[in-house]
Symmetry: C2
Subunit: 451 residues, 2 copies
């Protein structure tokens, strides 16, 4: 029998993260001040992030050591298995070899604690007492609650109100780990008050919740802010996914030909991809594909330009693929992919032609999720299912062409808290969305013209 | 840094289960016919089980090979990690070394697929088309749905109505794996119709659901029944837990002094314990503790005598510790521990003084669950939390006595579908139950007097 799982021992776990900044084909455009539109230095981030994370955000070092205490927490679930999807391959009757890196085995159930643990650690080292953050679907909030609990920090999570109501168990999970969870928009912040004044029944959005969390951090001296995606230091921490995957493939003497990840802000995609981007820049031939919903098509239909990260214009302007910060995506079930923009690093790589991007419709994505659950056992998060859908399409092409390609994707998390969306799918109640070009143009027309 | 996880490779996975029947200090009393009260032979089970499982139920072989196809499915998640609970030890400031065998890593989230996969396999080999079963909290139904899906069998799950309503996501999970889920009591069976005629609003019980599933199997030639606990062949399949644990301890040169498992029907407890019972019978000194809720105290306050497994008297009479088959335990949150009886094998070992049993109150159990979630990260199922509570008490005794004992317990499953009960606990809404002696006497007084 062939091994299904390629495991690493705890002693084989990478001891450093990989920082892609010095290897990018073109440097990132600088963040701009939200009001003056002038480039800002790292010191502008001091009200919301501790020094160590700001240094990582702009570091020119290729590798950054993972602190011993962070490694120690990682070892609760890492290294994660690289799994050969033998059942799926058989069902598809494909000569392709399909592998997935299972990040769903962490206690919060996704890849998010890879950065949450690091961020909580550096904040505690800096004497911070409390972290404030936002969460949409709840994966990030759960991860930060878990991490803060471990390092003895308080944690306040502004949870998009519609998710707060629809996903009560994500909220319960955060409570188990001792976090305070506040439905957003809330009356606790000016940003929340402003929204509620206009619309008392607002169900919230990620952009609003970010504004609330940043305001909370800025207003309290003992409190900092934590973001679960988009920024350079977040992607840095996630590279442990790809670094482990490289070692695992080395063990079995294979190399991936196609690498696939779902992409919202970009942290899961980049976590797997960035160490392979380095290989590609150094000459290895492989395709790297970011998969997003057609309902929130920042990479496939957005523009590469400066935009805010939030609705209240509290964040710096970042150069990224964006649909405009006022773009409100429909209520699709992959809540983690409903962000209007994409990480500057991922955007840079797409702009430079190093990675590709594709969009998928949600009913097709759920069909693939079901096929995966029925062949591999694991019920995937709807976000992860976007990657699965793309992988199935690529594996079918391999069947048609008779090609034995090696395909790997990141299973960003399990779907134990998303079963209501599977119910909707099985009851034929899911809708697909594809935006008319004018609507995207309209959202983009509001943006400051800077370039 | 010390390793947290002791792993086995897929190639180190045991290739046989351990059958304790030939090693028991006294033989099991024979099952009796439900009507005549005369001993029945294995052939009486043919309407509901395939030949291979009936053979295992009465086998005198010490080891039984695990079929290749079953091993292949096990390898989706097995071998499971043996984890050193360093965070919990530190918090308790105990010299004890605490380990847990994490069975929550399976796709359905518990130890139940260890037997579900085997049962589905043997049924398919026998040409069976469909399996019928019951489920209370949903762990067993999910596991059988998962297993049937893998081997191409249809699966019908009679789910206790109160759980069907309170745990919609367990039901969704079964749907994802293609099972039919029917709230019990249902109008589909005579057993269900009889209950509904008396009480149209009945919320059901495990005993009623068992009657319905057995009736369904008996009435349909292409259908067999599957049980998730209690029986000898079920415990046999679960011994892979303890066999792996033995190998894992061998790797680090340690031996457990105290072994703990939660006990409802007994399959999780026995899965870890039976290979160690063999060691104990052969002279090794160790304590083996079964933990149950005080709200359903079959081992600690029941009687060792013949009883039915279901309410409709369809099952054979089995000699076991029981509270009487009409005993209706209160609606505690550890649904998997709400069965009126205990496995004949576990009962035999308790009667012979080889194992011990203790009862715990549910609020204390949830306090321990929360401590575990906050020190080890994993949110345990309420069932597993009974074992955790007992382990914490033993570890505290070690601290007081300054003893470096090695304690191991089975983490039967994760609590992702039990977060509503954590909410209740955090809101101080959980109640404790302890039965007055008369009430237990009353339930037992209805039983046939046979011994």
């Amino acid at each position: 029998m062939q091994d299904r799982k390629i495991m690493l021992s705890e002693r084989e776990m990478p001891l450093s993260w990989y920082n892609i900044l010095p290897d990018l084909p073109t440097p990132l455009s600088p963040p701009l001040h939200p009001a003056t539109h002038q480039p800002i230095g790292p010191e502008a981030l001091q009200p919301i992030f501790p020094e160590a994370l700001i240094e990582q955000e702009v570091s020119s070092q290729s590798t950054i050591s993972i602190p011993e205490e962070v490694l120690d927490v990682y070892r609760l679930w890492r290294p994660t298995p690289l799994v050969r999807a033998l059942g799926l391959e058989k069902k598809l009757n494909t000569p392709a070899k399909i592998f997935y890196k299972n990040e769903g085995v962490s206690p919060p159930g996704s890849h998010k604690p890879n950065t949450a643990v690091a961020q909580a650690y550096y904040n505690r080292q800096a004497g911070v007492k409390r972290l404030a953050t936002e969460t949409g679907a709840g994966q990030w909030g759960s991860a930060l609650a878990f991490a803060c609990n471990h390092f003895g920090l308080e944690c306040t999570v502004y949870m998009v109100k519609v998710s707060y109501q629809q996903k009560p168990y994500r909220k319960s999970m955060m409570h188990v780990w001792g976090a305070e969870v506040i439905p957003s928009p809330s009356p606790k912040t000016k940003a929340g008050q402003d929204i509620l004044a206009k619309d008392p029944d607002s169900l919230g959005s990620l952009g609003i919740a970010i504004s609330e969390a940043i305001e909370d951090a800025v207003q309290h001296a003992d409190t900092k802010y934590a973001l679960g995606s988009v920024l350079n230091h977040v992607l840095l921490h996630q590279t442990i996914i790809g670094l482990e995957t490289q070692q695992q493939f080395k063990k079995i003497g294979l190399q991936p030909d196609i690498l696939v990840g779902c992409c919202g802000g970009g942290s899961n995609f980049a976590g797997l991809a960035l160490p392979y981007v380095r290989e590609k820049i150094n000459g290895r031939n492989l395709r790297i594909i970011a998969v997003e919903p057609t309902a929130c098509p920042s990479l496939t239909r957005g523009e590469f330009r400066y935009d805010f990260g939030d609705t209240a214009h509290l964040t710096p302007l970042l150069k990224m693929f964006t649909l405009g910060h006022d773009f409100v995506p429909p209520g699709i079930h992959a809540g983690g992919l409903r962000y209007h923009g994409a990480s500057p690093i991922v955007s840079n790589l797409l702009h430079n032609g190093i990675i590709e991007a594709v969009g998928c419709k949600q009913t097709a994505v759920f069909e693939s999720a079901l096929l995966f659950a029925r062949t591999e056992g694991i019920i995937p998060a709807p976000e992860s299912a976007h990657a699965i859908h793309c992988v199935i399409e690529e594996a079918e092409k391999c069947r048609e062409a008779g090609e034995e390609k090696v395909i790997v994707f990141s299973l960003s998390g399990h779907g134990h808290f998303d079963l209501a969306s599977y119910d909707s799918f099985l009851a034929n109640q899911l809708q697909d969305y594809e935006y008319p070009e004018e609507k995207i143009k309209e959202a983009l027309s509001e943006l400051p013209v800077i370039d």
